[in-house]
């Protein structure tokens, strides 16, 4: 009950005109940076961090600037879906999984439905995780502490296991795609030995590693666009989508029918967000993988399945709340954006850690209250703007294609201000087109480049602990079961595939 009262007080503070205004402004900024390819919540929060000093000066508390930055974080989670669906370029790394089914749905003339599903799923995911956060923050923090290196590696292995289900039926091609992504992920300086790896021709651009966004924009912006131009689908992109009340009601119904994806995304996303070093991007990708793996009709994924939108969209919002938890209670950022938020809290004179909840209730509860408010604001703003987003799709593809191309170039440059990345992105685009023509699934490669850099140091740190003994992944109480389930998931389809090829399946 105490928690409920504290929350109520917090919501009241968050509803004060200044704070509410900051939440709305933050959501708008977030929607913009989220929807712009290349810019994500990290950029938005980092750029506006100095400005929060002014807000603090003006309002005299650390709560208001934090409400502003948290609203940007949420807004960006909503915004990322917009360009993923309408243009097929992931607006932010957190929205890559949304392109898998959002884009096909838009091409089939149902962009309005896809956008409504994305907005509502984001809202539900955000709200469910807010409730979990409010009710269980301290015990969940101790769960996060129990996750050492072997546990996180086991979880990553489980995520890789769901990949096998991501690539369709062609297991060898899926495995090739995963390995290709892992090789790309290992480029750059190795964290354990500090030595450079695969820095081809001594080009300095390789030394910072191949960034995930460069591959994602190349594959989904350039590669997919050319694929669409070459196939007949480009005609359907011109299809006229009209927003009607009936259409909206139908979209809501479709969202309700995609409840399974929303449920998986909300809980899995929140949990993955809790773990330090993970964050919203792996959360959304894993939710997509699990939704597909457990679906009755996995083959319809990638062709415009509503569950394929609701899972990643609810997950990225849930994960962004989840990532706030270790940041506030342990002082450990769960994602790149929370790392910047953490720096902000220290700059404003707060000490994140186990005592924050008890020593700074005046900061904590209004902030949590603002999470609820920001989510409501974000879903309303997002729904109101859907006609505008859909209007973009009415452009003929002959105009839309160059726009996508230019946005991909600008977005890649904007992310890190490095021309090398832009050339690499274009190269990946053509490579992706070639692989696509040869029928290789590309999503597993994109997943591998996200999870590889998380999994690898965890694997090596674990093996340092055990002096190279792999049994460390089986003997620990949390890591053991996860590892075993992951191995079963990986081996099952491989065995099935092998059996099917040795003797044809019975009818």
């Amino acid at each position: 009950m105490d928690i409920l009262f504290a929350l109520m007080d917090g919501i009241v503070v968050a509803m004060q005109p200044t704070n509410l205004g900051l939440a709305i402004a933050g959501v708008l900024v977030g929607l913009f940076v989220g929807a712009m390819p290349g810019l994500g919540s990290v950029n938005g929060v980092a750029i506006l961090l100095p400005f929060t000093f002014v807000i603090q000066e003006f309002t005299g508390s650390a709560t208001s600037p934090m409400i502003f930055l948290a609203a940007i974080y949420y807004g960006a989670m909503y915004g990322g879906a917009i360009s993923s669906i309408t243009l097929g370029i992931p607006g932010a790394s957190t929205a890559v999984a949304t392109t898998f089914d959002g884009r096909p749905m838009a091409l089939a003339g149902r962009a309005d439905r896809a956008l409504v599903i994305a907005a509502l799923a984001s809202f539900v995911g955000g709200t469910i995780s807010n409730i979990l956060f409010t009710a269980f923050a301290p015990p969940l923090a101790s769960v996060a502490l129990k996750f050492g290196d072997p546990e996180i590696f086991a979880l990553m292995l489980l995520a890789f296991a769901t990949f096998i289900g991501l690539g369709g039926d062609d297991i060898p091609k899926t495995i090739f795609s995963i390995c290709f992504g892992l090789v790309l992920a290992s480029v750059g300086f190795d964290i354990v030995s500090g030595e450079p790896r695969l820095v081809f021709f001594d080009i300095s651009g390789f030394s910072h590693g191949i960034r995930f966004l460069v591959l994602a924009i190349g594959v989904y912006g350039i590669g997919e666009m050319m694929w669409t131009m070459m196939s007949s689908q480009s005609h359907s992109a011109m299809s006229y989508v009209k927003i009607t009340r009936q259409g909206l009601i139908a979209a809501c119904r479709e969202f309700a029918s995609a409840w399974r994806g929303t449920a998986i995304g909300s809980f899995l996303g929140f949990f993955v967000g809790l773990l330090p070093a993970a964050g919203a991007t792996p959360g959304s990708l894993m939710a997509y993988g699990v939704a597909k793996l457990t679906a009755r009709d996995p083959k319809s994924f990638g062709k415009g399945n509503p569950d394929g939108i609701s899972a990643p969209e609810s997950a990225n919002n849930a994960a962004s709340t989840g990532a706030m938890l270790p940041m506030m209670t342990l002082g450990i950022p769960g994602s790149p954006t929370t790392a910047v938020l953490l720096a902000g809290m220290v700059i404003w004179g707060l000490q994140p850690g186990p005592l924050l909840f008890s020593s700074q209730p005046d900061f904590v509860w209004p902030l949590i209250g603002s999470f609820y408010i920001s989510n409501v604001v974000a879903v309303l703003v997002n729904l109101a703007f859907i006609p505008v987003f859909v209007w973009m799709l009415r452009m003929p593809f002959t105009i839309l294609a160059p726009v996508i191309f230019v946005l991909s170039l600008i977005g890649t440059f904007a992310a890190y201000q490095d021309m090398f990345d832009v050339w690499l992105m274009v190269l990946f685009g053509f490579g992706a087109l070639l692989l696509r023509k040869l029928d290789y699934p590309l999503a597993p490669a994109v997943l591998a480049i996200v999870l590889g850099p998380i999994a690898e140091p965890k694997l090596r740190q674990s093996l340092l602990f055990s002096d190279g003994d792999f049994s460390i992944f089986f003997t620990r109480p949390i890591a053991g079961p996860i590892t075993i389930v992951a191995l079963i998931l990986i081996l099952l389809p491989i065995v099935k595939f092998a059996l099917a090829h040795i003797r044809p399946a019975k009818r």
Partner: protein, 325 residues
């Protein structure tokens, strides 16, 4: 950063410039575009927090005509940032926040072709300190108890730290070599993650900076045993220095701003002046006290002199531990 934001910041910068022409004395060098502020480490660590705070102070107090734009280059314990600075195209519009990897990484990787004495000594903002931490459930209260326990457990005792052959491993090596210990060292990406691993008892000890372990220290989960400083730290008056308990080792980390080789004299003078002003603000002084940062502002020849001493010292340390020949 997108174009919109950039043009907005430019306009804001231009406004600030026109103001400073009226109010302040004109300096020989003024940046004519936003200044890139390279951070030699990842987001959320001590160097990153410091860089973002300085950026915020400079904007808030209107100290510069053009904004600083932080860019993280964490690869290879600073190797990525150092090679970038070595060949940067516009040395007058780039500065970098450094750690001790500024000394160790070029020593370990001569192939990088980095000579730190060629870097421009803009200003040292502080020196960070190190303490030895254990979890409260370990039941250890003093350094002597630590030595006994670590000796008993041999390779089972795990020290977590940031990076390879960097500050934390240097201290671990010192403890191993001088107290007959066999502590195992496991590198992590950032000091915050190390503190979390220790709070969850995934590792047995750490040599975190005060700022990294402060939250868990206040909650009583982590206990500091000794400080690797010359004098006791004001924030931890009850914690003895290693020298008090019979050791002979003082180790600190520079938190300094440097310019790339080839920065002009005028630009160097401008940035030294800028960071000195930031150092003198109440915000920076408060932050320094709260995070238990030591050391005074140092620039120019003094800072170069400090670097050359530190380089000699680190070369000796790395040679003794076998990290370099």
């Amino acid at each position: 950063m997108n174009k919109h934001m950039r043009s907005f910041l430019n306009t804001a910068g231009a406004l600030a410039l026109s103001l400073s022409v009226v109010t302040g004395p004109a300096l020989a060098f003024e940046p004519d575009k936003p200044v890139e502020f390279v951070i030699m480490a990842g987001q959320g660590g001590g160097a990153d927090k410091m860089a973002r705070l300085i950026q915020s102070i400079i904007e808030k107090e209107n100290l510069a005509s053009r904004p600083l734009i932080p860019v993280n280059k964490p690869g290879g314990s600073g190797a990525e940032a150092l090679t970038y600075m070595n060949s940067v195209s516009d040395p007058d519009h780039t500065v970098m926040v450094t750690l001790n990897s500024f000394f160790t990484t070029p020593l370990r990787q001569p192939g990088l072709g980095v000579d730190i004495m060629k870097f421009a000594p803009v200003g040292r903002m502080a020196e960070d300190t190190f303490l030895l931490w254990v979890h409260k459930d370990e039941g250890i209260k003093t350094f002597d108890e630590f030595v006994t326990a670590a000796k008993d457990r041999g390779r089972e005792w795990v020290m977590g730290g940031t990076g390879k052959a960097a500050e934390d491993e240097i201290i671990t090596d010192y403890l191993n070599n001088n107290y007959g210990l066999e502590i195992k060292y496991v590198p992590y990406k950032g000091g915050g993650e190390v503190a979390k691993q220790l709070a969850g008892r995934q590792i047995t000890s750490s040599v975190n900076n005060p700022s990294e372990a402060l939250g868990f220290y206040q909650s009583g989960d982590l206990i500091p045993l000794v400080a690797f400083t010359a004098e006791r730290l004001p924030l931890f008056p009850e914690v003895p220095t290693l020298n008090e308990v019979g050791g002979n080792f003082v180790y600190s980390m520079q938190r300094a701003v440097v310019g790339p080789p080839g920065m002009s004299k005028e630009a160097l003078a401008y940035y030294t002046d800028l960071f000195k002003k930031a150092y003198d603000t109440a915000d920076w002084q408060t932050y320094k006290t709260k995070q238990s940062l030591m050391g005074n502002f140092m620039a120019g020849d003094d800072l170069s002199q400090y670097w050359s001493e530190q380089r000699v010292r680190h070369e000796a340390i790395l040679k003794a531990s076998g990290a370099i020949k």
